[in-house]
Symmetry: C2
């Protein structure tokens, strides 16, 4: 259980805000790797180069630090941005290919660049932390709503098959992409099972899905 660690050796007497941010960044790193119980306040303090007493001056308890860290992390957007660009693509009447391919690729790239996020989300879900529930309500439910509505519209237009629940299509869609990211982060670091670029994965997933849900009779 030895990992390389970010080390912040800094001049003493950092300002309160700087210090708080430094602690949060270290907490994100450690909590994402080892979860809540697996991370100690001692280790966080050591890496920050301060005493535990100082840490508890900034955050009254470990719980408070954990919550603050999740809050900080979820404000780093990434999902908001992805959602906004999806909304925009739909509004300007982009091709289905453009919409689906673009969304998958954006998501895969985000997961790649911010692996801490998926790990923190899984940890908090397994631990039953409210953050996990909140994240689904605030960030995931709107995607089901937006994408679900779009698919229903295309079903009414006769372009997509209407014998499949629109939200089940959203789930299939998110499933391909989330599962692929999870494999890359959690198991497939050696890429034993599969080696493909994000572009190829996004291309294939969106092809499979679109061909899978389009009405055969209607030409595209």
């Amino acid at each position: 259980m030895k990992e390389k660690q970010l080390k912040f050796e800094t001049a003493p007497r950092m300002s309160a805000d700087e210090r708080k941010n430094q602690i949060l960044r270290i907490a994100i790193d450690l909590f994402s790797k080892k979860g809540f119980k697996g991370t100690t306040t001692k280790e966080i303090a050591q890496i920050a180069g301060i005493s535990e007493a100082m840490l508890f001056k900034h955050f009254a308890s470990k719980d408070e630090l954990y919550a603050a860290m999740l809050d900080y992390k979820s404000c780093q957007a990434g999902i908001e941005e992805t959602f906004a660009s999806l909304e925009e693509a739909i509004e300007k009447g982009a091709d289905d290919e453009e919409i689906f391919y673009g969304l998958i690729l954006k998501a895969l790239r985000y997961h790649e660049s911010d692996q801490e996020f998926l790990r923190l989300l899984l940890h908090s879900a397994l631990e039953g932390h409210e953050f996990s529930e909140l994240f689904v309500t605030r960030k995931i439910a709107p995607i089901y709503e937006l994408l679900g509505k779009y698919i229903e519209k295309r079903q009414k237009e006769g372009v997509f098959r209407d014998d499949v629940n629109a939200r089940l299509i959203v789930r299939a869609f998110l499933g391909m992409m989330v599962h692929h990211s999870m494999n890359k982060i959690l198991w497939d670091s050696g890429q034993r099972l599969l080696q493909v670029s994000d572009e190829e994965a996004a291309r294939s997933f969106s092809d499979i899905l679109l061909n899978g849900i389009r009405n055969k009779e209607v030409g595209q």
Copy 2:
């Protein structure tokens, strides 16, 4: 963090094997809910109705108990059985519909009936435990192999499109189903996002996938 707990009030002087099995079952329950660090030997002993000293007579350390528990759990098959029935379906030349629908439905039902398993797998993956790696090598890789080969065969026959990596199709396929199960277990207990039966989900996923990867020109 209060949960209902399986309680084993038993007559004293259980045989060694019985006791060991009882401890393993309790360990599975607790480790799957709270992970390794989140579970204490004290709690396991309390629920078993014995002292911690007794627990350490049966398992020399907490680590040993954890490993024994994962071993025990992974021998409860479920996946072997699913794999075998997939193999059989392919050999007897079943329809693609039969093969894909059957596999998804079997997997969804297994995940439903044994939620501990998915939780333990995720916990061990996040913790970087070797079990997780081993599970992928021994249980998941063969599925990629078997299903990948079958898809390649169908591609050569001209039934499936051959412009998509066969293993990427396997991933898309497993992704839909695993992600759906994870949603049911981790987030969707209130089914806010989606309410569907396992049968409907399996039907839709296999429809989407098969339509998505079949050559358009070839009638079925």
